[in-house]
Symmetry: C2
Amino acid sequence: MRTSIATVCLSGTLDEKLVAARDAGFDGVEIFEPDLVASSDSPEQIRTRAEELGLSLDLYQPFRDFEGVGPDLLEQNLRRAASKFALMNRLGIETMLLCSNVATARSGDEQLAAAQLRELGDLAERFGVRVAYEALAWGRFVDGYEQAARIVRLADHANIGLCLDSFHILSKGHNPEAIETIPAEKIFFVQVADAPLLSMDVLSWSRHHRLFPGEGGFGLGAFMAHLVRTGYDGPVSLEIFNDTFRQAEPGATAIEARRSLRWLEHEASTFLGASGGRAARMSVTELPGVRPASEVAYVELRTEALEDMRELLGQLGFQSQGRHRTKSVELWSQGGARIVLGRPRTDAPQPTVAGIGLSVPDPGTALRRAIELFANEVPREQDAGDEPLVGVRAPDGSEVFFGAATRTQPPWVHEFGDPVAGGTPLIERVDHLNLAQPWQHFDAGVLFLHSVLDLQTQPSTDVAAPVGLVRSQVLRSADGIVRIALNLVPSGERGEAILPQHIAFAASDVLSLARSARERGFRPLDIPANYFDDLQARHAMDPLLLDELRELNVMYDRDESGEFLHFYTPPIGTVFLEVLERRGGYEGYGALNAPVRLAAQYHQRRHAESSA
Amino acid sequence: MRTSIATVCLSGTLDEKLVAARDAGFDGVEIFEPDLVASSDSPEQIRTRAEELGLSLDLYQPFRDFEGVGPDLLEQNLRRAASKFALMNRLGIETMLLCSNVATARSGDEQLAAAQLRELGDLAERFGVRVAYEALAWGRFVDGYEQAARIVRLADHANIGLCLDSFHILSKGHNPEAIETIPAEKIFFVQVADAPLLSMDVLSWSRHHRLFPGEGGFGLGAFMAHLVRTGYDGPVSLEIFNDTFRQAEPGATAIEARRSLRWLEHEASTFLGASGGRAARMSVTELPGVRPASEVAYVELRTEALEDMRELLGQLGFQSQGRHRTKSVELWSQGGARIVLGRPRTDAPQPTVAGIGLSVPDPGTALRRAIELFANEVPREQDAGDEPLVGVRAPDGSEVFFGAATRTQPPWVHEFGDPVAGGTPLIERVDHLNLAQPWQHFDAGVLFLHSVLDLQTQPSTDVAAPVGLVRSQVLRSADGIVRIALNLVPSGERGEAILPQHIAFAASDVLSLARSARERGFRPLDIPANYFDDLQARHAMDPLLLDELRELNVMYDRDESGEFLHFYTPPIGTVFLEVLERRGGYEGYGALNAPVRLAAQYHQRRHAESSA
């Protein structure tokens, strides 16, 4: 599959955009006209620069408001087109994008539009270029791809074809199936974009909320499968604009973009299935398959407050397994939950939740898949005799390691000395991680987990914090073994008040655990009395249970399938812990309780500040 | 008019919210349930605290999903309501907001809903409280205020009335006129919110985009006038949530909120007009009227780079009038454009464009209006013999001063010594200011200029910068004498690359000015050759004019009514200057050129960085 990206997707100068596209391994770019107009390089210099970088210039875009106009305007429009065709000759670009008329069309007569496109085709022929006509979702008369295809067929000119853009097709709810009826030679160009499923005017949706494939809710696998079946084998290009990418560093955005296309290729091949599509000329290959992780083998925590964290883990019933025989990290465990604990590393900045280890059937395949998805491998510091683990870095700087699944505990555990015998573990395993993402990395984080770990995205929720809304997006494996919530934290001056990361452990009996932790000196996050009064009002609570929750600061939720009990530790640095118990089939995360918890944390911080 | 504000409008703990509301002079607050639930204070403590602060607790909100349900659920709902009524008794709150059922209603039968509300009314009566029923715009069966009013009439219970919320009414496009048919005693509560005119699902619009009155596009003056005519004289309360206020500092938000209600009261009185509304019991008084400014008397610039700015002003043909006789500022002038120039003040942080002076018919009245709108007065450092000027501080920290309009130049000019005779001035006056606003202050800035200076908001535009979108909102006087563009600059890590402030001067002949400035050593911002090629493609340009534009780096725009020529200076610190010429009736700002200018500035900065 030939990959391309529109320069509008990336921030910076045109040259910065070209370099970022090259560095991420794109085959070509679309030149977005305003980027050219604003560039201090001449068209010839840009052409030479792209050649040096090994990038093809696949498309000049956009040309607007051409067809369906009166004779006077047609003449002006042809003059405009001629000057752009001359410019394309200077750039060495063969294809121009023509958007369906938004502003100046006076008629929706398809014969008229076709006749005018035929004139444009004659002009294009003289310059040796061609025109890809695209139905904008908000076109004045032409807003569907089947309509655009009809007009192109009527125009019947070798230099006039179509541009298909997944956004314009799927945002209108149009069925992409009819793509298969379009002759491949009439598809001059293809743009792909994803988007969250929003209900708003399609122009604002397009301008502010496009996403890279795999980050939104569009059915892009099916779209691509239809395209491949036509026999199209031109570039598949990204045209994404949203308020985040416009500001983000172009190098990172280009990698994210490239990952999204590799994922999309995989999705297409899955959709094509065994039948393959006999007309297919575009090669779309699957990613190495990952089989689900059998457990979260460990979570790595890096904090300066080692002593406080040790005390807290001890209070919660974790046992220290001792230090690693060669590295300065220590292992704490309880049941199947393991924390690798150390001080922050000095060589590379990492979040406090610095890494996660997954036990998978075939670590080598998992790594190969990640690398095919443009993840950077992180070699484990491997000492003699250490178990081999392989890993990659996530967009937020944390690490994901893969180890071989075994029937007993992971073999690397023995590198920390012999397990200490302890009481009956009440904590059974890591239930989920909750990781704050800087706004620049939120969608990239979703794509990374979705594509590399094959986790499924759940509907996102907004949680009201005392100082802003937190957008929370859970990704999980089908069996619920791996669950990661990514949180988009407000970037405002007071956004830092929201504690950014936490680890939630699943316990068999959270009330017993809370009680025994208290006997070991633990003080949970204080939950206000009003919360428990409100619980009583909302649910007909068993008064004995309510008293116990209140006494132990344990929060509660309930749905049709079960119950949820959970408590929080105070923060240690920028991380805190949660212990939870799922009763029956409860699969949520206590979303109704999150604002109360955030307010309690905010209150505690303000209290600590004012008494400091 | 009794004023109130929902605690959800303000960030922080409940106590921080109450203090902010008191400090801004509100009469009361609505208690938003999640704020109570998350508070560590008991209901009795909150009641006492509000009494101490002199705030009435006007409403408990929201109660949800009550009416239109089956018998089992009705019983549960009455139990829920009883526990909330008991809580309201503890808080001393008389009125509860009931939102129309979104989730659990099984029937839209108005008789059924009314019968169930009547049962709720009986229960409320026993607790000595009352219920204000509100039609949510996205209610399952009840989504209009006229429908809610019918149900309340059918319920026919003294303890059941209505809550009217301008957002739910105006977002649906419902005509507010029928408000006048509702008996005043059935209107238990009124909430007002403004919003930008967006086309999106009404729930997201409501959750993320509400604005204080005067900041959006709703016709709130008419809404209020209808309300006043009913004879309602209860609280008028703000219930606003948007992603900005949730993060902003609560004290500043509360002042902005209070200003919006004062403006709204004025609007209502204007709409009521002489007729007054005979039933009116609510007092709504007009603001002191302002008459339009006759000129921008001066702009005050505070910069460390005094020498560079002096050189630049000289190159543009400004004459130095010398230093102020007692203060360390100097005056530069040309035609009717005056710059008061000095170093940054050390006593209070100010933007580089630190102030603006307006010549108005009656400075005292202008000041009184501003103060009635909760603006803070800034006393001019008044030395013996100085002309009196009065002023206030804008939300971004800059100052607005009012001086008496005269036929000649402002009398304070003589405090700078005698005017220097110069050549023929090509610059005639200040055309507009372009002021970047931090995201926390953007809407507040709009409200300030709109209400205090009576400037009218123009449709906002988005401008693509190399590192993010800039939202630009022009406010102007009807005669075009005062024009201020507020820009919402992206807050991202790279957002600072956008130059934040500029002053635009109107010239009689911008080409001559550019030429003579060049002779004085001026170098304008360099505009790329591609831009002029594109101009040629877009407009059939006179080749001689195009050559001159290109030579002098002057940008160009055209619309049906005229032409626009303008050039930019390089930045000096965080400010730059623009000189423009309007030909014919052109009233715009060259929006199409803004991305090219922003890119050229970005390019220049990157170039300077890389050669540094």
